[in-house]
């Protein structure tokens, strides 16, 4: 059963990922991305990361992909990009060689490190699962709010900076700026 879930989720992930890079239409690429994200969420559930699976679906598939689609529609760039144009002649084959090499290298490293991983994991029962332990979300909360509470607070600062920066970036320039308004108020 676990094997079946893994194979189906892996096929979803690979098919979605290939779809993102071969579909010429940005909207189709975004929808393929949703397929990949759902596959990753399924594997999160299979690995007892229930909270992260929920967050994955809500934040990634829900918010980020909608943001992508929103920008595509807003800017009207929803026309197919011609995949035939090759700006540098050898770019495509080189990219595929780089990708295959990267995949081979990481796979080799993973297989090489199997023994180390097994030795490190020996005797560890899976404490991330709920059997006889706290639930996953409780463990996560304990870790987040005790060991990583400072990083958590810094994260909120990061989000505020991102929001303010985006508002500044996406503001339509050229119209009356805040400085002009202040100036006018001063002259009256």
């Amino acid at each position: 059963m676990e094997l079946f879930v893994f194979i189906v989720a892996a096929l979803m992930i690979i098919a979605g990922a290939v779809g993102v890079i071969v579909r010429s239409h940005p909207v189709h690429a975004a929808l393929s991305l949703v397929l990949t994200l759902f596959g990753v969420a399924v594997l999160f559930v299979a690995q007892d990361a229930h909270f992260l699976a929920a967050v994955q679906v809500i934040v990634y598939a829900g918010a980020i992909v909608v943001l992508f689609l929103f920008v595509i529609m807003l800017l009207g760039v929803d026309r197919a990009e011609s995949l035939k144009i090759d700006p540098i002649k050898v770019q495509r084959p080189l990219a595929i060689i780089v990708g295959a090499g990267l995949c081979g290298l990481i796979t080799a490293a993973v297989i090489e490190g199997r023994k180390t991983l097994r030795a490190r994991a020996a005797g560890i029962e899976t404490a991330t699962s709920a059997n006889g332990h706290d639930s996953n979300i409780k463990q996560l909360a304990n870790d987040l709010f005790s060991n990583h509470v400072f990083a958590f607070e810094i994260t909120s600062v990061l989000l505020v900076i991102a929001v303010v920066g985006t508002v500044l970036l996406a503001r339509r320039p050229g119209k009356r700026g805040a400085a002009d308004v202040l100036e006018e108020a001063g002259t009256q």
């Binding site: 290939v18 993102v20 991305l33 990753v40 007892d48 920008v71 080189l94 993973v110």
Partner: protein
Amino acid sequence: MMLARIAPTTTWYLILAAVLFSIGAVGVLVRRNPLVLFMCIELMLNAVNLSFVALAKKLGDIGGQTTVFFVLVVAAAEVVVGLGIIVSILRKRPHATADDLAELKG
């Protein structure tokens, strides 16, 4: 049924993550639409998240899942800022590709 008794090990998850990461990397190298480039970066981030979660389970350490939580937050912030930049570029010059953006340099 021999096949049903085989359970996927952590190595399988790590190799799947490696494949996903490579596909994302190829996408970043090949595609020219800035929006699709961002989607490929999301693919790579998801591959890393997947390996973090697999190792968190294998090593019985919840810290891996905490890291994934932070990666999710940073990815969301990155997408928001990146799309803001793309919107402000594409508003001036519609249908700009990643190659055209090299003209930004002085």
